[in-house]
């Protein structure tokens, strides 16, 4: 399993309640202490730009809400894709949505960096399973 020091979890959601609840749920799951949250796509991108050097050495799991005012989840991902290759490789994106729409699945596949589209509310067991998959994948490629 990915060690807690190597793992970053980044939550992006305009809904403050969902952020609070998901942060708590993830802390209770004891996956890592490095949990960051952002109220908007823009805030998230700014954070990535400023902290990229530190970030690219870790495994960055991003849990991003699709429906946000201003820049929505997919528009934010387009900005994320502008990062350099080594930073991009460290990012694993999961999209969160109130209802799974066919168009969202298509957009996710087209983006190339979305691992999965998840329905709200966030299920921490699923997150653990995906983390295990990511870990096993990285073991295989080393």
């Amino acid at each position: 399993m990915i060690s807690p020091e190597r793992l970053n979890i980044l939550l992006v959601d305009d809904n403050d309640i969902d952020i609070a609840v998901n942060t708590k749920l993830l802390k209770l799951a004891e996956l890592t202490d490095n949990i960051y949250s952002f109220n908007s796509g823009r805030q998230f991108i700014e954070f990535l730009d400023t902290n990229m050097n530190g970030l690219k050495k870790k495994v960055n799991v991003v849990l991003m809400d699709i429906m946000m005012p201003g820049m929505d989840g997919f528009q934010c991902l387009e900005k994320v894709k502008e990062l350099p290759e080594d930073a991009l490789r460290s990012i694993f994106a999961f999209m969160l949505t109130s209802s799974i729409d066919r168009n969202d699945i298509i957009k996710a596949e087209k983006s190339g960096i979305v691992r999965q589209v998840l329905e709200k509310p966030l299920d921490v067991y699923l997150v653990k399973k995906f983390l295990r998959d990511i870990y096993l994948q990285s073991q295989g490629s080393e």
Binding site: N15, D18, L25, G70, S99, K120
Partner: protein, 362 residues
Amino acid sequence: MSDHLISILYLDDEEQNLVSFRALFRRDYQVFTAITASEAVEVLNNHEVHVVFSDQKMPDLSGVEFFELIQPDFPDPIRILLTGYADIEAVIDAINKGQVYRYLTKPWDENELRITIENAFDLYNSRKQVSAKQTELEKAYAELEKFVYSASHDLRAPLLSIKGIINLARQENDPNKFREYFNMIDVSINRLDAFVQNIIHYYQNEKHEGNHGSVWFESLLNEIIGSLKYTEGADRVQFRIKVNQDRPFHSDELRLRIILSNLLSNAMKFRDPSKPDAWVQVEVHVDNKRCTLNVSDNGPGITPEDQPRVFDMFFRSQHNQGGTGIGLYIVKEAVEKLNGRISLHSTRGNGTSFVIELPEKE
């Protein structure tokens, strides 16, 4: 017999026919005559014509050709051909192609002519009504589509937040933490309720015929502010009312209420949290036959990029937490239903003011 004056255009290359026709009908209908196709087009350009008669046999072009000519630019008038028995072949073809509604043989029979005119006018009206209904329906469908898409988010999101809170609460061992969870559930429920109420307001505004009554703004505003008392943030905002009204204003109270409560609740919701003295002010001037409402605040203001879009259905600015995006859309629709105008003045960092001008209802 219809009570609406039917307007008829008759094209014929023989002056005598035009004269007879005019003599027969000028007292009952509005009759225009033309001796050439271009004269006829001139009439159609300048008047609303319900029924067009044309002779079939003319030197420059046939009646059928004339109808083909005018159809693209003037599709609405009902087209009737006057023809001698010998031209039937050409006429039947045109009728089958939908160019022509009916043909009448010359010499005409006055009664038959009258009946044809009345029937044609009925058809004209029916088509106009259907067209209007269709436009209305298209608007309704477009809005419904937007609503369904947004509803799946705005209706479900607060419910799913609550599910998340419950998941958390189930894992919680410390009973002291429950109060926090209950507060969070309460906030989510309020968001959902606000959205549902907005939808109801919207449809009340759309469907409601409008009640006419005497409105006194001071008491209306006090009522609205009273009802907002339990809304989040109400205790942190100071409401100021300045009403200049010395006689009742005749208008639709329901719509005024919708307009004012949405603007006030917005100003409250999107106040500047860093300002300890957040205020919302409503100034009302009732003049001769009209009133001016100015709802202003010292909130964060609206950026120039967002300003043209704030009245769009479901538009939410990235600068604002919460909100459904439908409030200002409803306000705009209500103002329009009252034949008024609304304008927005704001700079980011410097507050916002909405100015509404409304005429008095007759």
